[in-house]
């Protein structure tokens, strides 16, 4: 089995001390090591934001793309070479704000890939504006009188849009988080791991202690991840008791399974020169 240190990137993370993203990075490295997936067979795709700097801190192929666009890049790469382990990663602003449209459609397409969202309920890199998951009435730099909108519910949204593996973890529960990530990577289909990853600098509301007082583990309460209705009900639990763990898991053919162009193996291995151009040209006759 591979060692966690084999997945350490060229540079050390530059996140603020205490940032929840450290826990996410550790859990992901541990998951990859446990699954023994060689770094060169992994592609980590991110967008923009504090958490989207993650590809630089992990030893694997990486694509650090535009704000909100990690999922389409990851999808393109997966379709081009479906033998790669493709992991998209980013924050709540990146994935549920500017990239929300891609999130919805990626869920329903069921590509065999993993999406890790480091959800800190704030825009951190831009120094503390309200995000799509900021709770109502929270004062931020962009909402000095408190947020008016209600927050987006990533777990419920993913369930509705057809994601086949929907989990939520917490940076403070590293072992469970690593297991959720392992399950996500091993799962054949689109897996969301939404992670409570506290921003110690700009979110003074959803802090480590705040989560520790409220979270409970779904596996401790005999939640059945095969039960979609039960998963939906749990997804709407918020307030004094907030569930983390695996909400839902179902097997469904992946996009790659059903795409005719992939029947003869990964696209990247197909020859550039087609031998039937003359036959293709017949329609011009």
């Amino acid at each position: 089995m591979a060692q966690v240190k084999e997945y350490q990137g060229l540079v050390k993370p530059d996140w603020c001390p205490g940032c929840g993203d450290f826990g996410v990075l550790n859990a992901l490295q541990r998951a990859l090591a446990d699954l023994d997936i060689a770094p060169h067979n992994v592609l980590v795709v991110s967008g923009i934001g504090c958490s989207s700097n993650l590809p630089g801190f992990i030893r694997a192929y990486g694509f650090h793309g535009l704000h909100g666009r990690s999922l389409p890049v990851a999808a393109g790469a997966k379709l081009a070479n479906h033998e790669l382990t493709v992991i998209a990663a980013g924050g709540d602003g990146d994935g549920y704000g500017i990239g929300a449209g891609h999130f919805i459609h990626t869920c329903r397409r069921n590509f065999n890939m993993t999406y890790i969202v480091m959800d800190n309920q704030i825009y951190g890199l831009t120094t503390g504006q309200a995000s799509p998951t900021t709770e109502k009435d929270i004062r931020t730099k962009s909402t000095p009188e408190g947020t008016i909108e209600i927050p987006l519910n990533p777990v419920a949204l993913a369930l509705t849009c057809g994601a086949t593996y929907v989990a939520r973890g917490f940076s403070g529960e590293n072992l469970q988080l690593a297991n959720l990530m392992k399950g996500a990577i091993e799962h054949k289909g689109f897996a969301l791991v939404d992670v409570f990853s506290p921003c110690v600098t700009y979110n003074k509301h959803n802090t480590y202690p705040w989560f520790k007082e409220r979270i409970y583990k779904l596996e401790d309460e005999k939640h059945d991840p095969a039960n979609f209705q039960a998963a939906m009900e749990r997804a709407f639990e918020w307030g004094n008791r907030i569930p983390i763990g695996l909400f839902f898991k179902v097997e469904r053919p992946t996009y790659e399974d059903e795409e005719p162009a992939l029947r003869s193996g990964p696209l990247v291995r197909q020859p550039l020169r087609r031998t039937n151009l003359a036959a293709v040209m017949e329609e011009f006759l």
Binding site: D14, G56, F63, L66, V73, A74, G76, I104, A261, F284
Partner: protein
């Protein structure tokens, strides 16, 4: 007596849903199979039913460059078409229509023109057969061998059974018999063809075919007129060609998917029109910054904003030039002909791979959507250059963005052992480590900018040299790009012919040549300056309002084009419009710079209001 010509034009006009494209394309294809050169341009509107559609089919014994200026035969599927075009039918020509649907008033029929109304119900017992019956009558008038057209009927309806084939063939024959019995042979006919089976397709089909020939295996798109037919062609041929075709949720996802696929090593392309390209813009810079090859086709339509979705224009050059923030290397190619749609798409993939940057291939509705005969596509010696790819680690630390003489760094594909790296849209060093946040470093930043921008010097050497077509010592040089090139060639040929046949008291009074660059960025400014400095008088002909190519030339050469002819009414230039303007300039030789514009005559009064004439075709009398 009928006169025999080297070419003729048939217009099929009606409402959307009348099956005009199907009959028009069948006629065009049949002519191509019978050895004629064909050019078919469908002028249509953004309506699935109703609206006005007119397919212009020009058939020639030699190459026909454009849809031309006029018609000899009108197949009118509604009264509106008669109102619009009947007056333009010359003596010897004919108007064919279904007299069950409407009458053609005698005062609408020009002198010497036959109006032939088919009693479709009585003839074939089914109004759905009107197009085929009218085609039968048309063939009879033209005296053309109907074998090729009948062959197409058989192919088209084969799946529906022998009965349907027979019904359609019979409708065709009955239309022909009616014309034989009740009409004079057509007064204008086309001479015999060389009998060679010619290929016919749309410009978009040739761009798509070029992509497949170049080894493109990933095509992403969001539907947008007039680029959608590339998506349709790719999807229809996906299984046969082994291409993965992905329709995405928007154009932002489209280009990001293509970049992702290309990053993983597959040749990838996407296509859109101006509005979709605006959404793609940010990702154009992403491709350049991550040094990912990608080909983006921009098929221009009339803007701004949603504009006129089914009409042509060339007003997106500045959008292509300016797309995405910051300075970065990109390439803009603008094919002008069908053969270039094919060959320059292949070239686009090679340049993208060699220089690891985005290549924008510009087309426009008039080039992309018309059907035209073509020949000479080389499908056996296709150049494929993938650029430098690292297939295994050499023991040294791999530096993905290594600073090199050409600015191009050997690329490793994800999955290769020992060469892991991050491709970042943030500024980064040769190792791929971002230097945007905590490790900012002015000298490294400058070095990486220079590394990327250096590619442009090398790209420039690979692009075609600017050249003049036609006589070197011309009195007037016509300048244009994209689809306008074909119009300029036709105008040049006509004007030079006119000059030759009127020696002494020359009608136009001079020789004409053409300058139409097909590589627009990076721009060969110095070579273009040398070429244009020798020109006596210059006229830029562009389907836009501000003369974007002329402005680019001025920016890159310091030379101002003297005269400008613009068109922004949505319809392509007609050769006669260019010829008339060129003639005027050659005669008057204005000292001052001039700017003029032309509008196509669609038979509508300029102040025509759909409110004043709600839905009724009968009131469109003017």
């Amino acid at each position: 007596m009928s006169q025999t010509r080297a070419e003729l034009s048939v217009w099929v006009g009606g409402a959307a849903g009348d099956g005009i494209a199907a009959s028009g394309e069948s006629f065009a294809k049949a002519c191509a199979r019978s050895g004629y050169h064909v050019f078919a341009y469908n002028s249509y509107q953004s309506a699935i039913r109703g609206g006005h559609v007119c397919m212009h089919i020009r058939v020639g014994r030699q190459k026909v460059w454009t849809h031309g200026d006029g018609l000899q035969y009108l197949v009118a599927l509604n009264a509106d078409s008669v109102e619009r075009y009947a007056a333009r039918v010359p003596p010897g020509g004919a108007i064919l229509y279904n007299r069950d649907k409407f009458d053609v008033k005698p005062e609408r029929i020009p002198q010497g023109v036959q109006a032939i109304g088919l009693p479709v119900m009585e003839l074939v017992g089914n109004q759905l057969m009107q197009n085929i019956a009218l085609m039968g009558a048309l063939y009879e008038l033209l005296g053309l061998d109907a074998g090729a057209f009948k062959g197409l009927i058989r192919e088209r309806f084969a799946k529906k059974g022998e009965g349907i084939v027979a019904t359609n063939l019979s409708a065709f024959d009955k239309g022909a018999a009616f014309a034989r019995a009740h009409a004079q042979p057509g007064g204008i006919r086309i001479g015999a063809s060389d009998g060679k089976h010619r290929l016919v397709a749309s410009g978009n089909a040739l761009i798509a075919f070029g992509a497949v020939a170049a080894g493109c295996r990933f095509y992403a798109a969001y539907p947008m007129t007039p680029a959608s037919s590339i998506l349709h062609w790719m999807a229809k041929n996906a299984v046969k060609t082994g291409t993965l075709v992905k329709q995405a949720e928007d154009e932002i996802a489209v280009l990001n998917m293509a970049i992702g696929a290309s990053h993983a090593g597959v040749r990838a392309m996407c296509a859109t029109s101006g509005g979709g390209f605006a959404l793609m813009s940010e990702a154009v810079g992403e491709a350049a910054m991550t040094e990912t090859p990608v080909v983006v086709v921009e098929v221009q339509r009339a803007g701004p904003s949603t504009g006129v979705p089914t009409k042509t224009e060339q007003a997106d050059l500045f959008q292509l030039l300016g797309a995405s923030q910051g300075d970065f290397p990109k390439i803009i190619l603008a094919p002008r002909t069908f053969n270039e749609c094919y060959s320059m798409t292949i070239q686009a993939f090679n340049l993208a791979d060699k220089y690891q940057c985005p290549v924008l291939l510009s087309s426009d509705l008039y080039l992309s959507e018309r059907n035209e005969t073509f020949e000479g596509l080389d499908i056996t010696n296709i150049p494929i250059e993938r650029g430098e790819i690292v297939t295994e680690a050499n023991g040294e630390p791999y530096r993905r963005f290594l600073d090199t003489k050409t600015g191009v760094s050997p690329r490793a594909l994800p999955g290769t052992p020992g060469t892991v790296y991050v491709a970042a849209t943030d500024e980064h060093d040769p190792d791929g480590v971002v230097i945007s946040d905590v490790f900012t470093n002015p000298s490294m930043r400058a070095k990486m900018m220079e590394k990327r921008m250096r590619k442009l010097d090398h790209i420039l050497k690979e692009l075609p040299e600017p050249e003049l077509e036609g006589p070197k010592d011309a009195d007037l040089t016509l300048i244009g790009w994209g689809s306008t090139y074909a119009v300029l060639v036709e105008a040049m040929q006509a004007l030079n012919q006119e000059g030759l046949s009127a020696k002494g008291g020359s009608a136009s009074g001079g020789k004409v040549n053409v300058f139409a660059p097909r590589a627009l960025w990076p721009f060969k400014g110095e070579a273009t300056r040398r070429l244009l400095e020798r020109c006596t008088m210059t006229l830029a002909v562009e389907a836009n309002y501000i003369g974007q190519l002329a402005k680019l030339i001025r920016m890159e050469t310091g030379l101002a084009i003297q005269h400008h002819l613009h068109k922004y009414d949505g319809e392509p230039f007609e050769p006669a419009q260019v010829i008339a303007h060129a003639r005027k300039l050659l005669k008057t030789k204005p000292k001052e710079s001039t700017v003029a514009s032309v509008v196509s005559d669609e038979g509508l009064p300029p102040d025509f209001s759909p409110i004043a004439a709600p839905g009724s075709e009968a009131v469109r009398v003017h």
